[in-house]
């Protein structure tokens, strides 16, 4: 019994250390501000970005599709702080409304990604056995395709639009990131309290929802944060290539392509500002994500791990006896 408890691994220790699981988010926020100045800066940037997206109607001096006659391709000035484009639309307003589009795609896409990852990962990790083996081969096959190829292929079939972008990006990345959730579920499944729950005859759904899912919150928060950044960049990339959100919607990626590229040497402000906004937001999300990962995933924290801990692909963890579930062998060497 004692031996078993010693071999139980980190997840269990963490669960013991945090008796009130509901306060996880608040605790993470407190630690973020206390311990991670750069992460806090990132979080502040993300907050500003969200506020701009929500309050775009009040912040933007002009409408995103409001033509100003006789103000074509004007460089930045007092009236048009970031300049105007080829049909006289205020770039600042378009960048501000672009924040809203990026925010919607980022949040909705990341939600979908997490939901798909959790469903697939939990099923695969919890059921295990042959089901897991087959699921993991499918994920293997899926992950062989660079995401842009997959996304563009599906977008070629579905056609452009914001809804399609969210659906496709969430779907494509959700399947890929189900690995992370699966790994966490397999690790948690080995814990004593799950064994006890089985022993006292808890129904399966109760074990899943009461014991396993709440403990996967840490990887899910990390997944969501990085997901938002990925979605925003992904949307910008495919809109840039012309298969994302069609004009006149002011998508940051879309503003960099098409007409923007046509006039880029004549009016560089048309393409400088949307890209800069994109870079700042992604920077903020990355910083926040890194800090959250440091706080939530002690295995990755700089000084703590031995060399062996972070070696290789860390996703599928071994169980307490040191060997893996059958399906995972291909992943870890």
């Amino acid at each position: 019994m004692i031996q078993k408890e010693e071999s139980m691994g980190r997840v269990h220790e963490e669960a013991l250390a945090e008796p009130k699981r509901r306060s996880l988010l608040i605790e993470v926020l407190v630690r973020l501000v206390k311990e991670k100045p750069l992460g806090t800066v990132g979080g502040a940037l993300v907050l500003v970005f969200f506020l701009v997206g929500i309050l775009a109607d009040y912040l933007a001096p002009y409408g995103y599709n409001e033509f100003n006659a006789r103000a074509f391709l004007k460089p930045p000035s007092g009236q048009f702080i970031l300049g105007t484009d080829n049909v006289g639309r205020d770039i600042l307003s378009r960048v501000i409304f672009g924040a809203r589009i990026s925010m919607i795609v980022g949040l909705a896409g990341a939600c979908l990604q997490v939901v798909i990852a959790v469903i697939m990962g939990t099923l695969s990790g919890f059921i295990g056995g042959r089901f897991d083996l087959i699921m993991q081969r499918v994920v293997d096959g899926w992950m062989c395709f660079p995401w842009l190829f997959l996304v563009l292929t599906i977008m070629a079939i579905l056609g452009p639009g914001m809804f399609q972008v969210i659906l496709v990006l969430g779907f494509v990345w959700g399947i890929g990131s189900s690995r992370v959730v699966r790994g966490a579920v397999i690790a948690i499944k080995e814990n004593m309290y799950v064994e006890v729950a089985v022993a006292v005859g808890s129904p399966t759904w109760k074990i899943l929802f009461r014991h396993i899912l709440p403990n996967t919150m840490a990887p899910i928060i990390i997944l969501f944060t990085t997901g938002v950044g990925g979605m925003i960049l992904g949307e910008a990339s495919i809109s840039f290539l012309g298969y994302g959100i069609p004009p006149p919607a002011p998508s940051w990626g879309g503003m960099l392509s098409g007409v923007g590229r046509y006039y880029m040497t004549l009016a560089p402000w048309m393409i400088v500002w949307p890209g800069l906004a994109l870079a700042i937001v992604v920077y903020g999300i990355n910083m926040l994500g890194d800090a959250l990962r440091d706080i939530l995933d002690p295995k990755l924290r700089g000084g703590l791990g031995r060399y062996g801990v972070t070696r290789g692909r860390k996703k599928p963890p071994t169980d307490k006896k040191g060997h893996e579930k059958p399906g995972t062998k291909a992943l870890v060497i």
Binding site: R137, F145, I157, T265, G275, I280, R313, I333
Partner: protein
């Protein structure tokens, strides 16, 4: 080791089978109205007045057969190296891909080379001078590399030199055989842009791994033997620190291929990425599935090689 490689090869075959299935199904799920669209586009484009009707297109795609038979026929062709014939240009897809593959490969390899050349020295420096201003600078640079979208960076690289110095990158592809230096010059800037994002990740990984290794006991032993910092860093630490970095770079290959699509488009390099984008624009599903299959196979083989290299380089890894 041998048993491990053989087992991985068997798994590779299984995954490859699933890859073909995914590619196959993605094409078979084309909705009917797309076929009609293709038809109307073809009718407009066909100059010789050759009529193409829906039945002909369906037959061309093999859609008139039952699903398993379609798959069998298609797979049989793929194994013989026949990826089908383009709906648009009527050229065999396999040949077109072979023509463009070297260009993408060159771009990708140069991108990796640039990424490593930037990342590894800075990463090592950042680790051995941890928490100095130089380290902070290097880390900020790494984050900058990751945060700046490559298509924006590429656009900036085209726009500002042309405004300031009236210099534009060549928009005509120069084959390596015709003019090696001109070809390399042409590839240099796209490769740097492509390598930037990779170098950011690699820099951070190098730094983390160096820090891990520098805390090991054998490094302390080396210090206490009175070895110079240079010897410790390069003979003892770097070798071990770089093994996981190789894995990281290998795993970034799919990301790199995706990035190359955009870079090729911006710098007008006629590689796989542009070929694919043109096919997506024309809805040439034969080309789309062909390119997807080739890319996925490359990624799969790449992953296998990475794992084997890793197992070979790090004797502590157990092959199970």
């Amino acid at each position: 080791m041998r048993a491990y490689v053989i087992r991985r090869l068997l798994l590779l075959v299984a995954t490859l089978f699933l890859v073909t299935l995914i590619v196959f199904l993605s094409v078979r799920f084309i909705p009917g109205d797309v076929i009609e669209l293709m038809m109307s586009e073809h009718m407009m484009e066909t100059q010789r007045g050759r009529q193409i009707n829906a039945e002909a297109i369906k037959k061309r795609l093999g859609l008139d057969l039952p699903l398993h038979e379609q798959y069998g026929r298609w797979l049989g062709g793929v194994i013989r190296g026949d990826l089908g014939i383009s709906l648009w240009t009527n050229r065999p897809v396999a040949g077109d891909i072979l023509e463009r593959l070297p260009i993408s490969l060159e771009l990708g390899l140069l991108g990796i080379a640039v990424g490593l050349l930037i990342a590894v020295p800075i990463g090592i420096y950042s680790a051995i001078r941890q928490d100095t201003p130089g380290d902070y600078l290097a880390r900020s640079f790494a984050i900058l590399c990751i945060a700046v979208p490559n298509f924006w960076l590429a656009t900036m690289v085209i726009v500002f030199p042309s405004i300031w110095w009236q210099w534009t990158p060549p928009m005509e592809y120069i084959p390596f055989a015709d003019d090696p230096t001109g070809n390399l010059q042409q590839f240099l800037i796209p490769a740097v842009v492509l390598g930037m994002a990779l170098s950011g990740l690699t820099m951070r990984m190098t730094r983390t791994m160096m820090l891990e290794v520098l805390r090991q006991d054998y490094i302390r032993t080396a210090w206490s033997k009175g070895l110079s910092e240079r010897t410790i860093t390069f003979r003892h630490a770097v070798k071990n620190a770089l093994i996981p970095v190789i894995t990281l770079v290998g795993l970034q290959v799919p990301v790199l291929i995706g990035g190359a699509v955009i870079i090729e488009q911006i710098f007008s390099l006629p590689g796989m990425g542009r070929f694919f984008l043109d096919a997506v624009r024309d809805r040439d599903y034969i080309i789309i599935s062909g390119v997807n299959l080739v890319i996925a196979t490359i990624v799969l083989i790449n992953n296998l090689l990475i794992d084997c290299t890793y197992a070979y380089l790090d004797p502590r890894v157990k092959y199970r």
